[in-house]
Every structure is written in C-alpha cells, then in structure tokens.
C-alpha cells in the first residue's frame, strides 16, 4: 500500500492503494465515485474515460500511483460543467442512451470533441467517438447530440480549442509528484507476490489426438544425412536440448515425455508444463510429436503436434515441419497466427542451428538463449506452443506505453 495524493473533482485526496490499483478502481472503491464505469479493462471500450489534467484518459489502464499530484475529474465532477450540462440535455433530447453504462465515458469523450472540433462534422464526430463503445443506441442519437451542442456553441461564437487546453508535453497526469527526501527513487515493494509454483507435468493424464485450430508449415536444412538426423530425432533428450527453453521433468519414454517449455515474446512469458508422446515411422523417415500442456499463470492450455518428414537434399537433409496447435484461455484471446509464425520461424532457426551443431559433435551449449537477447524462446516440440500473444490485444492502445 502506498499513500497517493491527488486532486479528484477539485478536492485534495490522500488515500493509500496498491501500485496495481488502476485509477478507475481507485475512484470507485476508495472514493465511492462509482460513476466511472469499467467495461473491458484493457483500454478498448472507453467506459472508464475520465479527465486527467483536464483531458480524456483511460482510467482502467492508468494506475493511480502514476497520477500522483494530478487533477482527476470524473463524471461526478462535471455536474456544473457548462459543456457537459449542454450535452446532458442533448443526450436526453436525442435518446443518446439506453442502459447508461457507456454514458459517463461517452460524455467525457463527447465533451472533448465539443471543445476541440471546429465544426459539427459528422464524420469527425464518429471517428472521435470510436474509442467509446455503446451496445444499445447504434450511436445515431449520440452523434446527433454531440453535433447539436457543437453547432449551438459555434453559433454562440465559442471558438474551438484544438489542443483541449493542454500546453505541456508528456503523458497527461504525469510529472506532478513532489519529490521529497533524499532517496533517488520512490520505492514501493510488491506485496508478497509469490512466484507461481510449477505445476506438475504428471497432472496431465492422457495425451489425446486432436484437430489443430492453426497449422503452420516450416522447413529447415541441416548438413547431415537423413539417417543421422532421423536417429537423432529418436533421442528425445537430445532433441529437447536443442530447443531453447525446453526442459524435461522426467526420464523420457517415447509414449510419454514430460517436460516444460518456456516461451517468450517480448514482455510476455509463458511456461507450458505437460506431456507429449513421440511416434516415428522409419519407412518414410517421418514422425509426429503430440502433446498437451498448461500455463498456470495465464490459465491457458494448448494442444500441439509437430509432424516432420526428412527429405534428402544435396547438402544433407531438409526437415519439413508441420506445426499444429490449439490454444485456449487468456493467451488465446490475444493470439494472432502471424505472430506465432514469426516466433516459430525464429525458434526453428535456433533449433536447426543447435541440431546442426549437435550432429557435428558439439553441444548446443547455452549460447542459444543468450543469443536471442534473453528471449528464451522455445518451442515446443514437446507441445506445441503457444504462443501467441501478442499484443494486439487490445485493440487499441496501439502505441502506447
């Protein structure tokens, strides 16, 4: 807990909160200002939009602790505001709300448009409201309401303020904290954040067949004959050692390999624990690894299979891979196959390099993970992976940070 001092609706407030408390929860739970609504909690729906230093900001992805010294205005603080008063009348007149859930955020964004837009251009209003979702009205009444207020104000010769009154640089709400004391940083330790305990791979009872939701194909070449590569693929411990991020948690048997794979894309990390079985077909030098695993932290699970076929080429062997996976849970919500493909391509390049080195008699060593700038990539053969993630989840919030 940490003491956070800021101004809410022109009232100085000093309340303690955890660093992870977002501004919306802060005003709702600590100050009982429940007019600020939370919808998506990742910056997409706009229900939580409040004024921060006088201009709109998402209170769900703004942490209260980062707003030390800032001026926050919630919907409750706009009772006497001229523009909002006009907007409320217009919303009522135009039937611009039904259930009312989006309305507080909608009014804050609408107020911003009224101040900034030079004229009541319908397209600009619609574009300006794209960050506020309304599931009831179809937006027609809302757009009309905003249009009418802009028209009325411009008719009264109230000039637009294209910058919304903001004159300083940097993220709104930032930079007003008062530093005191001599420490070089204001430090708040995490409260007992425990590391997640690893989930036992043995909890995965059976390894079922499945139909992958996504299939990627990749290939790579190594400068060794197919027979040698095929034999190597039979050595599960050796294969796992070539996979950055993979580890075995029990002595492997073809019918059951237990282990974990740590996958990382940018700041997102997941460790899938699970089990796999390995099948080989010497006749056509192909094989299949099928597995299942869970990442406890993100409560995501995946099933994956890797099919490979070794094709002799002039300089050695081409390994054709078909990687199929199905991902469910949190990570699936943010997944894009293209990003997984990008990750898989990088992983496979690593894997191929390690495999080549190992076939040549040297061990893959630890350089792999290090080489990738800390991304312990990994792949999954053992399971297929996951991954995904990426960012876009939120649809928006593009840029940011």
């Amino acid at each position: 807990m940490n003491m956070i001092a800021l101004t809410v609706n022109q009232r100085a407030v000093q309340v303690s909160a955890e660093p992870r408390t977002n501004l919306a929860d802060f005003v709702r739970d600590k100050l009982d200002l429940t007019g600020t609504h939370l919808g998506c909690e990742h910056g997409v729906c706009g229900a939580c939009t409040v004024l921060l230093d006088g201009v709109p900001a998402r209170s769900c992805i703004t942490y209260a602790v980062a707003c030390e010294g800032a001026e926050v205005t919630t919907i409750e603080g706009l009772d006497e505001d001229d523009v909002t008063t006009e907007l409320r009348a217009a919303f009522t007149r135009e039937h611009a709300l039904q259930c009312g859930y989006c309305t507080p955020g909608m009014l804050v964004s609408a107020r911003d448009l009224v101040l900034r837009l030079p004229q009541a251009d319908e397209r600009l209003i619609r574009v300006g409201l794209t960050g506020n979702l309304c599931r009831c009205t179809g937006y027609v009444g809302i757009v009309r309401a905003v249009q009418s207020v802009i028209e009325a104000r411009r008719a009264r010769n109230i000039a637009p303020e294209p910058d919304g009154g903001r004159k300083i640089l940097g993220p709104v709400g930032s930079g007003r904290s008062v530093h005191h004391g001599a420490d070089r940083a204001e430090r708040m330790p995490p409260l007992g954040s425990e590391q997640t305990s690893p989930e036992a791979a043995s909890s995965v009872a059976s390894i079922p067949d499945f139909i992958p939701a996504t299939v990627l194909t990749q290939h790579f070449s190594v400068a060794h004959p197919p027979e040698q590569v095929f034999a190597m693929f039979d050595d599960i411990a050796a294969v796992a050692a070539c996979l950055p991020g993979a580890s075995l948690t029990a002595p492997p048997k073809p019918e059951r390999v237990e282990g974990a794979i740590r996958v990382r894309i940018g700041p997102i990390a997941a460790t899938f624990q699970g089990a796999a079985r390995v099948e080989q077909s010497p006749a056509d030098m192909s094989g299949r690894i099928v597995g299942i695993g869970n990442d406890r932290r993100s409560r995501s699970s995946t099933q994956g299979e890797i099919r490979y076929r070794l094709v002799p080429i002039e300089q050695g062997t081409r390994v054709d891979l078909s990687i199929g996976y199905t991902l469910t849970g949190m990570l699936a919500q943010v997944g894009r196959p293209g990003l997984v493909r990008d990750l898989a391509a990088r992983l496979i390049a690593e894997f191929a390099g390690n495999l080549d080195r190992r076939l040549s008699g040297s061990s893959p060593g630890d350089d792999t993970a290090a080489e990738l700038n800390g991304m312990a990539l990994v792949f999954s053969l053992l399971r297929a992976r996951v991954a995904r993630w990426v960012g876009r989840f939120s649809s928006k919030n593009d840029e940011a940070t």
Binding site: T62, E68, A185, L339
Partner: protein, 278 residues
C-alpha cells in the same frame, strides 16, 4: 483483469531510472504512458516484479531542433505531436500519423518512445518513423548508442533494446521540400491496430525513396532504396511506375504466405504511393 501485484518506482531522473533498471534486470518493466503495457498487465500477460515509471522524467519530455533533425524525448505523446505542441520538421507527416493513432484518450498518454519499445509491428510509429529515416538513442548505465529505426525492430514485440537500456530520444531528419510523403493503413475499425500499413518518403528530384510495408506480424519490410518498386528508376511519374508485383514478392519473401493478406498490403501501399503523388 486486475494486474498481479508489482513493486513501483518513480525515479527522480534518468540516471536514477537507469540505475534501478541496471539493478533489477529482467524482472523490471519500464512504464511511460502505459497504453500498451497497461492492458498486458491487466490481462496478466506480463507480471513484472517491478514497474519503473519514467513518465515524470523531465529529461524525456524535451524536444529540440538540432541541426537538420528534430530530437524528441521518448515521453512525448502522440497528442503532443497531433496538436502541434512540438516543432515539426516533417511538413505535417508526423502530425498526420499521430492524429490517427488509437483514440484521443489513448493519445493523451501514449508515448512515442513507449510505442517503439513495445515493438508491436502494427503500431504506427514503427512503420512511419522507419519510412522517415529516424534514428533512436538508446541509453543504459554504460552509455548511449544510436540505432536506425530499421535495425531497432527485430520481430513481433522484439526490439534491439538490451537489458537495462531505454529509448532516450528519437531523431527525425528534416524532410526536404522536394520530398513527397504518403502514409496509409487499413483498420477494420477506426482506431484499432492496423492490419496493413504502407509508408513512403520519395524524392523524385533526388531519385531516392524509402518504402515501408508494415503491420505484417514481424518486423516491417523497410526498403531504403526503393527503385525496384518503380521499375528501376525514381522519377516524377513514380505513381504510374509503381510495380505491385515487386511489392508482392517482397511480402512473400518476408513470410506473408497468405495471398489475400499480401493483396491488402500491396493495395494499402499503393494508396500511400497515390497519396504521396497527390
């Protein structure tokens, strides 16, 4: 939808921030506006032990014209650029890009440096600043280094930043009066992440062109000498000489295997070229 607990530090200056990062290594994440990291924290996709808040650092909110380039501090926001609170050396190009990023409430907090550090391939600045030929100063306790935008983005959410290093400034070269600029993106919904981005900075009188095909799920395709896209020569008739087949091949080479996706990317780039020629 609530983040896992994290520690929080608000260093008083850049040096202190670097010291904290140097000490914390990989368990720390920098936050500026938090418009990308916030969602990831809320979804618990990221669970750092420590958040280092640099949004208050005055050093990172400076902007100055230095010779032939504009040097922006990493914590300048999209709205700062959109509203013209900083000088412009790109003849409006950056302003145009900034005004179409996400939503106003996001632009009021989201920063240029944060967006670049996050390295989402679909983020506007990743493509736009690559096309503009920008460079970044990356600073750590051991000093500063300069990296060109096209070398900075390594893959999806992967940048050239090392542990303990942060984006300090963005250096944007002044756009010559003879240069043309075009920027187009395709979003299913206004304000969402783009599914395709095309950017071009072309100077027919100097016969130079930088072209970027972005939002492709990995690092953008940056073509610093784009003559091949215009039949081998860059001249005033470049719009008519634009060769969609070359762009298609570049995309295929970059791993975009879906023909429909390539089609969208090529056409978005074509729109950017038309905008430049308009």
């Amino acid at each position: 939808m609530k983040p896992a607990p994290f520690g929080y530090e608000r260093p008083r200056d850049l040096q202190a921030a670097l010291a904290v990062l140097g000490e914390a290594k990989t368990s720390a994440k920098i936050i500026a506006g938090g418009q990308s990291l916030g969602p990831m924290l809320n979804l618990r996709l990221v669970e750092p032990q420590l958040i280092v808040d640099i949004s208050g650092l005055a050093e990172l909110k400076q902007v100055e014209r230095r010779g032939d380039e504009l040097v922006l501090g990493a914590c300048v926001t999209h709205a700062d650029i959109e509203d013209g609170r900083i000088p412009d050396v790109t003849r409006g190009a950056m302003q145009g890009v900034a005004g179409n990023i996400a939503y106003r409430a996001v632009r009021n907090r989201g920063t240029v440096g944060g967006s670049l550090s996050h390295a989402d391939p679909a983020a506007d600045w990743v493509s736009a600043l690559s096309a503009l030929g920008a460079r970044l100063t990356l600073r750590s306790l051991s000093g500063a280094r300069m990296v060109a935008m096209e070398d900075f983005i390594v893959g999806a959410l992967e940048s050239a930043l090392r542990d303990g290093e942060i984006v300090e400034t963005i250096h944007v070269p002044a756009m010559p009066a003879s240069a043309h600029w075009g920027y187009a993106k395709s979003c299913r919904k206004t304000g969402e992440f783009a599914h395709a981005i095309g950017a071009i900075l072309i100077d027919p009188s100097a016969a130079t062109a930088r072209v970027v095909i972005g939002a492709i799920d990995s690092a953008p395709v940056v073509i610093t000498n784009a003559a091949e896209l215009f039949g081998g020569r860059i001249a005033g008739d470049y719009k008519d000489r634009f060769d969609a087949r070359v762009a298609d091949v570049l995309l295929a080479k970059a791993g975009v295997s879906n023909a429909a996706h390539r089609h969208i990317h090529v056409n978005v780039l074509k729109r950017a070229v038309s905008e430049a020629a308009a």
